[in-house]
Amino acid sequence: MDAVAPLRILAVEDDPRIRATLRLALEDEGYAVLEADSGESALELHSRQAVDVVLVDLMLPGMTGFEVVRELRRASDVPIVIVTARTDSHDVVAGLEAGADDYVRKPFVVKELAARIRSLIRRSRGAEGGSDAGSSPGGPPVVFGAVELSPAEGVVRRHGKELALTRTEFHLLCELAENAGLVLSREQLLERVWGYDYFGEARLVDAHIRRLRTKIEEDPSEPALIVTVRGLGYKLVR
C-alpha cells in the first residue's frame, strides 16, 4: 500500500455503529476513511475533498442512496460501491443503473469488501496510466461503428466526441473489444472486469452492459454493437 498518502474512502452510512466499525476495519486494511451520515453531507464532502472510492448505503434518511450515486456520477467517475441490507435484488439493480460500479450486501465480510475496493482502485489507477500498468488495458485503437476506443489514451469517442465512461464501463468495453466477434459469458466478464469468482452475480454485468449501450449505441433498445447472445453472454460486433 501507498505509505505516504493512504487511499481515501468516503463511507456514506447513517448507522453510527456500522460507520465506526467500518472505519476501524478499513483503517486496518490501510485506507483512510471519511465518514458521512447523510447523502447531503457526502456530496458536500466529495466536492471539497478528493476521494478514491465511495461506499454508499442505499437506505439513507433524506436523500436516498440512489440519488447520491446519481449526483456523484453527474460530476465524477469516482468508483462507487453500493451497500444494501435488503434481500431483494431490486435495489442492487437500481443502484447499478444509477451508476454504481459494484455492490456488497450486509453483513459483509471486510476482507471481501476490501478486495472489491482494491479491484476498483486498480482499474481506475490503470486508466490514469499510473504505476499499476500491468492490469491496464493497452493496445492500438479499435474502431467499431461510429465508436473509436483508444485503450492507451483511456478514451472512447463516438463521432469524434469523447464519451464520459466510468472506469468500469471502460474496462468492460476494452474486454469486449479485445475479444471482438467472440462471445464472453457473464461469468468470464465478472472475473476479468470485476475480479469475481464464479459466484458473482450476473446482474452486475447486465446493468453495466445496459449503461454502456446507452452511451455508445445509436439506438440502445436495438443494440448493434454490443449484442446479447441468448444463453451465452455478450459479444461486440466489429
Binding site: 466499525t21 434481500t87 464464479y198 459466484f199 444463453g231 459479444k235
Partner: protein, 469 residues
C-alpha cells in the same frame, strides 16, 4: 380442465338439440294431425257431394229407362272413380270386374237399410273411399269408389317436409348450442387461465368485469381475492425486507467488529481470547442463521421469482463442490449432456446443491458422491454422504425447520443453522420438484435425492451461435 369444459359444452349442445327435437316433435305432429284431419275431411265431404250428384243422375236415368249402362257411361267421366249400381238384385259396374264384391258388406247392409254411408277401405293396396247412397225412388243402391292416392301422396309430402324440417332444426339447435356455449364458457376459460396466471405468480392479473351482471360479480370476487393475496404478499415481503434490514444492520456491526478483533486476537490476554473465540463463532452462526431465515422468508413470500436461464450445470456443480465440499475427495458424476447450457434456475439450484453439501458435511461426515442425471422430463440430483444415515422415522422431519434428530441432539457441536434442509425443501417445492432421503445401497450413509422438472434447453439458434472462448 379441458375435458370438463368439453363436457359442459357437450351437455349444453345436447340440451339444445333435445329441446329442439321435443319442440319440433310436438309442433310437427300437431301440424300434421291438423292438416291430416282438415284435408281428409274436406276431401271426403267433396267426394260425398259428388257421389250424391252422381246418384241423382243415375236416379233420373233409371226413372226414364231400364238401361243401366247408359248412366254408368256418364259416370265414366269421373277420373279415378268407379261407380257400382245394384238394381233389381243385380250389380252393374263401369270398370269393376265383379262389382258386388268390391263393396264392403257392412256398408252395403247400411245402404240396403236405407241410410247413406261411406267408408275407407284398402282396395288391393290403393286407399279407397266408398260412398253408398240408397236410391229409394227406383229401388236401387248407388256406390261410388274414389281413389285417395292423391291425398295420401299430399299427406306423405307434408310428413316428409315436417320430418326434414325437424331434423334440420335439431342440427341447427345443436350448432347454436355449441357456438353459444363457447361464448358462455369463454368467461370460465378466462377465469381458469387467470387463476393459473395468479398461481404462477403473476399478481397483476385481473379480470375485466364485462357487461353481464352475473359474471361481473364473479369477476369482482376473483379480483378481490387477487387483491387480497397481492396485499398479503406485499405485506409479507415488506416484512421480510424490513426484518432483513433491521437484523442485518446490527449483524454488520458485530461481524465487522469481530473481524477487527480477529486481527488482534493474539494481543488478547488468555481469558479474553477464549471469550472472543466463543463470541466470534456465535456471531458467525447467528449470521448464517439470519441469512437462512431471511432466505426462507423471501422464498415463502415469493419475493424472488427465480427465472430459468441457460446454465452450464457441469460447471456449476464443479464450482459449488469446490467451494463447499471442504476439499475432501468427492466422486462427481454429471451426465455429459450438461456440458451444453440447459435452462435452470441457477441461483436456486446453487442453493439446493450447496445446502445439501453443507448438510453432508455437518451431519454426514462429509460429501462422498454426487450425481446429476436427466431422467425423461426430470432432473435427478443425488448427494451421498458417509455418515450414520437418517433413521426411517425421521426422514420426513429432517426437512423441517430447526429439526434436531435423536442422534443429533447436540447443538454444542453443530455449526449449522438448522435451516439448510428446510431451505432445500422450500426451493425444491417452489420449482415443482421433490426431495427425499434414503439409505445408500450399502447402508453406510444417507442419500438425498432431488428431482426437479426439466425446464428445457435454450433455443437451438442461440446454442448454434455459441462460440466457446
Amino acid at each position: 380442465m379441458t375435458s370438463r369444459t368439453r363436457g359442459l359444452r357437450f351437455r349444453v349442445t345436447a340440451a339444445f338439440a333435445l329441446g329442439a327435437l321435443l319442440l319440433f316433435g310436438i309442433l310437427g305432429s300437431s301440424v300434421y294431425l291438423f292438416s291430416y284431419h282438415y284435408l281428409v275431411e274436406q276431401r271426403e265431404r267433396s267426394l260425398v257431394g259428388q257421389a250424391y250428384a252422381d246418384a241423382r243422375v243415375v236416379r233420373d236415368t233409371l226413372a226414364r229407362s231400364d238401361e243401366v249402362k247408359e248412366p254408368l257411361a256418364i259416370l265414366d267421366r269421373v277420373p279415378g272413380s268407379n261407380a257400382v249400381v245394384r238394381w233389381r238384385g243385380r250389380w252393374f259396374g263401369t270398370t269393376v270386374a265383379s262389382p258386388g264384391a268390391t263393396v264392403p258388406d257392412g256398408l252395403r247392409r247400411l245402404v240396403e237399410a236405407g241410410s247413406p254411408a261411406h267408408q275407407r277401405i284398402d282396395r288391393s293396396g290403393v286407399p279407397t273411399f266408398v260412398v253408398g247412397v240408397p236410391i229409394d225412388e227406383v229401388g236401387a243402391e248407388y256406390y261410388e269408389m274414389f281413389s285417395l292416392l292423391e291425398l295420401d301422396r299430399t299427406l306423405r309430402t307434408i310428413r316428409n317436409a315436417l320430418t326434414a324440417g325437424g331434423a334440420l332444426a335439431v342440427v341447427m339447435a345443436g350448432l347454436i348450442g355449441w357456438t353459444l356455449s363457447r361464448r358462455v364458457l369463454r368467461p370460465v376459460a378466462d377465469f381458469a387461465s387467470a387463476a393459473e396466471r395468479v398461481a404462477a405468480g403473476d399478481l397483476e392479473t385481473r379480470l375485466a368485469p364485462g357487461a353481464d351482471p352475473d359474471l361481473a360479480s364473479l369477476a369482482a370476487s376473483f379480483n378481490h381475492m387477487v387483491d387480497a393475496v397481492e396485499r398479503r404478499i406485499a405485506r409479507e415481503s415488506r416484512f421480510v425486507a424490513d426484518a432483513s434490514h433491521e437484523l442485518r444492520s446490527p449483524l454488520t456491526t458485530l461481524a465487522t467488529a469481530v473481524e477487527v478483533m480477529e486481527a488482534r486476537r493474539d494481543e488478547l490476554p488468555d481469558r479474553s481470547r477464549r471469550a472472543f473465540d466463543l463470541l466470534r463463532d456465535e456471531v458467525r452462526l447467528l449470521q448464517r442463521l439470519v441469512e437462512d431465515l431471511l432466505e426462507l422468508g423471501a422464498a415463502e413470500a415469493g419475493a424472488e421469482a427465480g427465472a430459468a436461464e441457460p446454465v452450464r450445470l457441469d460447471e456449476l456443480v464443479a464450482n459449488v463442490v469446490a467451494r463447499w465440499a471442504g476439499g475432501q475427495p468427492v466422486a462427481v458424476d454429471v451426465d455429459p449432456c450438461f456440458g451444453e447450457p440447459v435452462l435452470a434456475d441457477k441461483r436456486r439450484f446453487e442453493r439446493i446443491l450447496s445446502n445439501l453439501i453443507v448438510n453432508a458435511g455437518t451431519h454426514g461426515r462429509g460429501l462422498e458422491r454426487l450425481s446429476l442425471h436427466r431422467r425423461g422430463d426430470r432432473l435427478r440430483l443425488e448427494v451421498v454422504d458417509g455418515g450414520p444415515g437418517v433413521p426411517e422415522d425421521e426422514r420426513q422431519a429432517v426437512f423441517e425447520r430447526f429439526f434436531r434428530g435423536a442422534a443429533a441432539g447436540r447443538r454444542a457441536g453443530s455449526t449449522g443453522s438448522g435451516l439448510g434442509l428446510a431451505l432445500v425443501a422450500e426451493h425444491v417445492r417452489l420449482k415443482g420438484g421433490r426431495v427425499w432421503v434414503e439409505d445408500r445401497e450399502d447402508g453406510a450413509g444417507a442419500r438425498f435425492v432431488v428431482e426437479l422438472p426439466w425446464a428445457g434447453e435454450p433455443d437451438a439458434g442461440a446454442a448454434r451461435a455459441g462460440v466457446r472462448t
